[in-house]
Assembly symmetry: C2
Homo-oligomer: 196 residues x 2
């Protein structure tokens, strides 16, 4: 069929979770029923790809020098939450009442892949810790081995400056049934039990 249509179907496949059939469905939907939507998507994509970079303070995604979270005077300046990715910032914002600062690593320590403290912006985090305002570092990196190593590394950074560091709780998810929870999580939940 048409060259441009085939190209559009192929280009849509760069989206995660979109295979050949859904790409075709998307392309035909836009062409037949929502051309204004397709044009708007085209403009938003090119704007976003060209203009969105990283916040100079916390490293999350933003088109400004400083993101709106870092620029929000209403947020606590004595708490910083360390996460691996911008998606984690969105998840914390959407799910919790956390109203402090962030540091986004954009990865985790992985010396074999050449990812050291500098790649994770830890020099910048260090400068923030040195500045003296921060009193607690909340470690919300992943539960993979790399995530744990990264949490440990940053925990030590905080400890060296007499700053408290905490790790978010890992355990049985709410509504989770014990028999379906994996062994590592369950054993972790037992070790981390609290007074009731």
């Amino acid at each position: 069929m048409a060259g441009l249509l085939d190209e559009l179907i192929d280009a849509l496949r760069c989206l995660p979770g979109v295979g050949p059939r859904s790409a075709q469905r998307m392309a035909l939907h836009l062409l037949e029923r929502d051309r204004p939507g397709g044009e708007r998507l085209s403009r938003c994509l090119s704007d976003a790809m060209a203009r969105i970079g990283h916040c100079s303070t916390c490293r999350t995604l933003t088109e400004h020098e400083t993101c709106t979270l870092c620029g929000d005077a209403g947020r606590r300046r004595d708490l910083v939450c360390v996460v691996e990715a911008p998606a984690d910032v969105l998840a914390v914002e959407q799910a919790t009442g956390y109203r402090g600062q962030y540091h986004v690593l954009l990865g985790h320590l992985s010396p074999l892949d050449g990812i050291g403290p500098e790649e994770l912006g830890l020099d910048r985090l260090e400068a923030r810790l040195e500045a003296g305002e921060i009193r607690e570092v909340i470690l919300a990196t992943g539960t993979t081995a790399e995530g744990e190593v990264t949490a440990h590394y940053i925990g030590e950074m905080a400890r060296a400056r007499g700053i408290r560091s905490t790790r978010i709780a890992h355990g049985v998810p709410l509504g989770g049934e014990l028999e379906y929870v994996d062994r590592g999580t369950l054993s972790h939940a037992f070790e981390g039990r609290r007074d009731y």
Copy 2:
């Protein structure tokens, strides 16, 4: 968070089957891992929305005056298959060995919605039937009431010119289990049984 990111997430929701969470996942994936893919998608979208129109012969989607199927000299010119949408053309091309012409209705007869023969390009189909080359009209409209009425209408158009019209077979799908097939399909399959 960032204005441009929120706008991109919102714009992605014009895609069918994309809710707020997958839109967010798509936006972050493009920004963090595949900016060239995002830029290419933006270009393909704007090209496609601006330049893809309908084939002047069969009415399927194409950026040319005549689509590549209509322009293909290797295809039979004595067969025309009538379908409701461009997606149906792709489905027939991908699944069958059909090598004839098409007529794409871009809908079905629906007088209450103001969709009559003219909206379906039936004047153009009539002209093609009049031209004398076509010897069989394959009716592949949907099995809805409107699809059946449309098939009947076009069948009469063909009959009036002494042209054979056929309807694609409807029945139990391959691999389908009788107990899970809906009653209408099963009753249709019994009525349409053939010598074995």
